[in-house]
Each structure stands twice: as C-alpha cells, then as structure tokens.
Symmetry: C2
Subunit: 421 residues, 2 copies
C-alpha cells in the first residue's frame, strides 16, 4: 500500500455552526427562542440563547491559521477558514486532506448539548435540540451523502426523551449519539446509577454508539491556578482515561452487553497500561470490593464494548495489538488546534510504518465503518474514496496558512479557559 491508497475516515471533527441554521428546522412557534449568531462591539460573534452569550473559542477554529495566532479568546466566523462552518468548503477541505468520511461534534451547544440542558424552558430546549439534530443530519451531513457520520445530541435532562430522540434519529439513519464523559459534573446522576437506563436501552436496541468526547463534562484538568495552558492541553486525554475507568467499574457495560461506546480524542497509547491496571486492581481488590465480571477480565469487557481513536500516537501503534486492532479508529480533529489538517495522511503514514496493509485498512476506515454503521462505498466506488482520488479533485484548494491577526486580549492560562460559562 502507498500513502495515496489509504481510505481515511475521521471519527472526531467539529462543526462551527453557521447562522440561519435553525430557520428550516424549527417549527414556527419556537422561532423566537432559536439561538441567534450576533456580532458584538468588539468584532467577535457569539451565539445568543435565552439571554446568554456563547462564544466560539479561538483555539477551536484554527485550521489554516499560523500557530502563533492560536488563543483562547472568542472569535468570529470571518476570522475562520470557511470550512469551519460552510459545508461545501468543509467537503473541499476534506478532499484536500484525502479524508472521505467525518463525524462532527457541535461547537456552541457544547460537546454533548450541555447548553440545551441548561434551558430554562425545557419544551423550547427540546424543540431547539431536535431542530439542531435535524439540521445536522439532513443539512450538514445530508448535503453530501456518504461523506459524514451523523451524530445526535441527546436531551440530557430527561432519559426517556433521550431514548425517544435516539430512536427518532436512528430512523433517519443516525446511529451515533454524543454523551458526557462524566454526567455528575453536569449535576446529573453518574454512570453508577440506573437513571440512564432508558437511554442505554434505546442505544443498545438501535445499534447506536455512544460517543464520549474529552471535555464533555464541561470540565478540563487544571492542576494549579497558575499552571500554563500547556498543562491543560497536554492532559486532555486524562479526562477520558478517568471516564474509561468510571464506566468500566459501573454497571453499564455489564448490564448492556450490546451497548458500544467511543472515546473521542482520547488517544490510545495509554490503553495497554490501562488494561493492565484495571485487571491488576480486579485481581487484587475484588475479593473485598465485590466487583464481579463473571469469569471475564475488566480489560476484556472494555475491549469488546469500547472503541478508541487517535490523531498521532507512536506508542499506541507499537502496542496496537494490546490496544485491540479491531477497535482502533482515527481522527483529524478539524478545525481544532490538535488537528493534523491538511497533512493528515503524511502524519498518519509515518505512524503506520511497519503496519501490515490489512491492519492499516482496519485502522483507517474499516473499524470506523463497522462501529459507526457508516458506508461511504455505498455512495461512491472504493477507488474514488482514496487519498489520491480525493486530493485529485481538490487540487485547486488553497491550504496555505493564512494570518488573520492577533487580538490584544490573548489568553494563555489554563484558568482562562475553565472560566468559560
């Protein structure tokens, strides 16, 4: 296999929502409450919902900007590359990066729709959330069939409504749903209660995978109040490592053996150690803690029901068979600051040095297709899905870095980011 022959599916990217997105999807009676994108006096744009302002954090929309300009301050659409928010430009950016498929997490509603869960008027909140899902599925993903894995947002405040929404969007072909990596941090019950059982049941029934994205508890790891932002950025995967243990020791996986989870942006190099550590704890401590995995090891349950993904991960590639070759997926993270766009194939290819072709296929697309029920080949021939074929049709896309200036109020402390609403 050559680098040009890879078929790439990314299971973690992000959409920056465009203005007017609710117009076609929200019933007339709710038009008044629809979130609106407004421009502030300082030139930034924010979404306005129930009187609250939701900024787009600069660091989350930096594709195509020089790294010197990254920052935590709010930003506006015209400071971003169009592919952040325009579906047609997004597909061209995917082509230029040789990526055939992408799953996009939301921006202003937060990673699993926390914003809507804070709605004062829960009926309005549910209407807006459904309109969001319809826009995401029908308009964003629907504009280019076979190019996007749709991802639903759940109405977190009502497990039965969550189940209903999972079933409603599944009927439209959406088989992935975002959820919080630690619901207790959002003031909901934890994984350890049976509160979420209607939701888990619906996901299990519908073959819908539950995606836990780092930061979806609205909390990031801040070691110290004066820690530089590098600590927070580099420790983001810790968020998911903790969630993985929390989930594994909870009743969820054992109670719903057909339910699958995906750990988004969590990396994979820590997983062999995680397996060892979980099994070690089980072996030594279960006689008094009472945990029972019914003749299996915690790592076996984790392997079978939890899908993982990486951006660039040399240690994880070395130990890929300990991670589990049938559960590793890959991501681009466009347009966030960790993204490898527009040279994702080149970066990935370096990591894949020495990996056999059949394993490359699993890692780059086959695992994602199976676990997320996504089939780009139903829409275009496989040979039209390769890095080479996609890049050929995007030869005119300008991927050069483009400066858009730096604001005076740049913020670089971890505590700046966590003060976000």
């Amino acid at each position: 296999m050559r680098i040009e022959d890879m078929v790439l599916v990314s299971v973690d990217d992000h959409v920056v929502e465009p203005p007017g997105m609710f117009e076609r999807h929200l019933p007339e009676k709710w038009h008044e409450v629809a979130p609106r994108l407004v421009r502030r006096d300082d030139g930034t744009e924010v979404w306005l919902y129930e009187g609250k302002e939701l900024p787009n954090i600069g660091l989350n929309a930096v594709a195509g900007r020089p790294p010197e300009e990254y920052g935590l301050e709010p930003t506006s659409l015209d400071e971003m590359r169009e592919g952040c928010w325009d579906i047609h430009q997004r597909v061209r950016d995917m082509d230029a990066n040789g990526v055939v498929g992408s799953m996009c997490f939301p921006s202003f509603p937060q990673l699993c729709g926390q914003l809507f869960a804070r709605s004062k008027d829960k009926d309005a909140g549910l209407a807006v959330l459904k309109a969001y899902n319809d826009w995401h599925i029908d308009e964003w993903c629907g504009s280019y069939p076979g190019r996007f894995i749709p991802l639903g947002l759940p109405p977190l405040w009502d497990p039965q409504a969550m189940a209903d929404e999972v079933r409603r969007v599944a009927a439209k072909g959406c088989h992935a749903v975002s959820f919080s990596e630690n619901p207790e941090k959002l003031k909901f019950p934890s994984f350890h209660s049976d509160h979420w059982d209607p939701f888990w049941t619906a996901c299990s029934d519908e073959g819908t995978i539950v995606a836990l994205h780092i930061g979806s508890s609205s909390q990031l790891v801040v070691t110290a109040s004066d820690a530089p932002i590098d600590v927070l950025l580099s420790l983001q995967p810790v968020n998911i490592l903790q969630a993985a243990a929390d989930l594994l020791w909870s009743p969820v996986l054992r109670k719903f053996p057909d339910l699958k989870f995906s750990l988004s942006e969590g990396g994979i190099g820590w997983i062999p150690y995680f397996h060892d550590r979980m099994d070690w704890t089980y072996e030594r401590q279960s006689p008094w803690t009472g945990q029972d995995f019914g003749g299996r090891l915690p790592s076996q349950v984790f392997r079978e029901q939890v899908v993982v993904c990486f951006i660039d991960d040399p240690a994880g590639m070395k130990l890929r068979h300990d991670v589990g070759i049938d559960r590793i997926t890959w991501e681009v993270d466009y347009p966030h600051s960790d993204s490898t766009w527009p040279t994702s194939p080149e970066r990935l290819w370096k990591s894949l040095d020495g990996v056999p072709d059949d394993e490359i296929d699993k890692i780059t697309h086959l695992n994602a297709m199976r676990h997320f029920r996504f089939d780009p080949f139903a829409h275009r021939l496989r040979e039209q899905c390769t890095v080479e074929a996609l890049r050929a049709q995007a030869a005119d896309v300008d991927v050069a870095l483009r400066s858009r200036g730096v604001r005076a109020d740049r913020k670089t402390k971890a505590s700046d980011l966590t003060k976000r609403p």
Copy 2:
C-alpha cells in the same frame, strides 16, 4: 540469570510508626507535644497530635491478610503483621521476599509530612518533624545498615527550613526527600511559582532526589460521589500522571538541571504515551503558549531528570526502551494492598520474560542504587544480596495469609476514603 540471582531494591514501601518512636529523638522541652499512639474504645489505635486523631487506614497495612478482609476502616497494630511496624520483623519479611533494600514512606504524618505542616505551633512542628527524621534515619534505617534508603520529610511551611533540613539530613547520609505531587492542593504555592527555590537549590546541591508519591497532595481521584472504590484504586496513577505534566511544564526542571525527581507508585506503562503527548503539545502549541525547552524536547528533559518505578507492568516492560532503561526502578509497596509481598520475585520475573540480564540488573537494583545514592554492596557481598541468599536466611518466616477478622463498619466507597482528615 535465574529468578534466585536477582538483586532487588524496592524504592516504595511504607512504615507504620511504632509507639514510643519519639522518646529518644525529641528534646525534653517538646515531650508534651509529641504525637502519641492511643487506643480508642472501639479497639482501633490512633495517633494523637495537637488534639487531632490520625488513624491507620486498614488498606494501608494489609500484608499477610486475606484480601477478603481489606477495608478502609481504621485499624490497630495488633491487627497488622509485625513487619508493618517492627524493624526486626520488617527485615525478616524483606528477607523472606528476597528484597535487599527498601525506601519507606511514612504513615500517620502522611506521605510528605502534611500533618506536621498543619501544626498550630510551628516551632513544635519543626521539632517533631526533625525527631521523626532522626528516628527514621538513625533507628528505622540505622538498625540494619545497607538495607534501607533513608527518606526525609520536609517542613513544608517554610522553604528555607526545608532547605536547612535537606542539608542537615544529607550530612547524615539521607539523600532522598518526600514532597507533594501537587502542593497547591495543600494550600501552598504550585510548582509554577519560585516559592520553593531554596528547597530545590538545597536538593540540587546535596544530590538529594525528590520523591513524589501518589496521594501526597492529600487528594485522590474521585470521579463521582457514588463511584465504587475500585475506580479510585485503579486510577491512583492518574494522580502522578497529572503531577508529571504539571512539573514538566513548570520552570523547575529547566531552572535546576541537576535536580532529580522520583514518581513513587506511579507505574510506567503510560510513560511512552506521555512522552508522545508532551512532545506533540510542545510542537503544535509552543508557538503561541511561549514554552521554550531550548532545542530539546519536553520528553528529553523528563527522561533525564525524572526517575520512575513500577510494581508489575507488562505494557511498561514491552516499551521499556521508550520509557528509558536507565530510569526504571521497582517497588514492593509493602504493606499496602497493591503489594506483591511475599511473592514479589515470582511476579516480577514473569514481567521480565525476555529482558536481557544487564537490563534486569538496571531495573531491579542498579538504577535505584545510582539515583538514590544507595549501596548495599558496601555492607555485604553482592552474592549475599540475592533473592536466593536472603530467602535462605529467612526459611523460618511464616508468610502464610492470616485472618484477623473483619470489622462491622467496613467501608468500600471512594468517598469514604476521601473524607479522611
């Protein structure tokens, strides 16, 4: 090499302090304030200091007990194996386990002496802390020359006094000092301030390694209020992973290039991924965050100045060269619940399958000897330090599990443990 030929040095064990320990080491004028071990009506024993009770947590003194009896409730000396608190029995337990050298962290003063830092009378606190160090160095370690790596406790509330104490105990041959893995959690300045510079300077001057033990911020990872204790137990290394990043992005290592740290009970299997992640963050984010490692990578600085250790770590052994073969040390964790006593050699030997002899020697003792400035061979011939030789002289030690009953008030929730004072 056979299993019997290994020479084993453990850099993380624990002493449960015996009654009367302060008598010989505290000046007359402070005898009134010395911590005392007292028996409570419920049969447990606690240390009493400035009117506060400090229990011995059962889980921290379980060597030789059946795992079914482990628990979080307080315990008493007569419920423990004598080796927990009696130096002569401790050495016999080391012999029975084939271990020639051991570094012991404190129990009731907490891992880096947090208790003494809470002293209302700081003069008394300093006197008690010095007496503790003298007892530890002269009596606990001094009873068996060549068998223990002494470990000092620092008076955390005064960086100049810390420096003085580091120099005082270094003159007595103690070249390791315990410190908090996150001082801000103890309401002191973080690694990112220059507050600790006198302490770092003294350690650097004296060739004293700074040991950061998991839990030395008096905080453990609790994901959710109803999480079972297994989550907390299995996530203990996360504590140290966060501390490692916090330290690495702080000025400390770069400002004091001769200063060495040891991550105690942190495991090693996560370290190759950690290296990748830190370098990735540096490469992508430093243009705007301003971090500068002067032509080196963060992982290089981390490798050179931070020593790591493990109990049993298959993933870490597979990637030992990515971890760094000259910085890996090993631990028994006697008498805590994670300890492999009395079959540590057997457990370790399994992990070492396929590792060449010269690397085994580094991992089992040579690295520990160099980084902790410890030389058992100055006191006995090398051939008397092997697993075989030590076990031969302890053939009469009964290592069978012994039941000591279970209390009615057993506690198994993570939140039970963190409610500790």
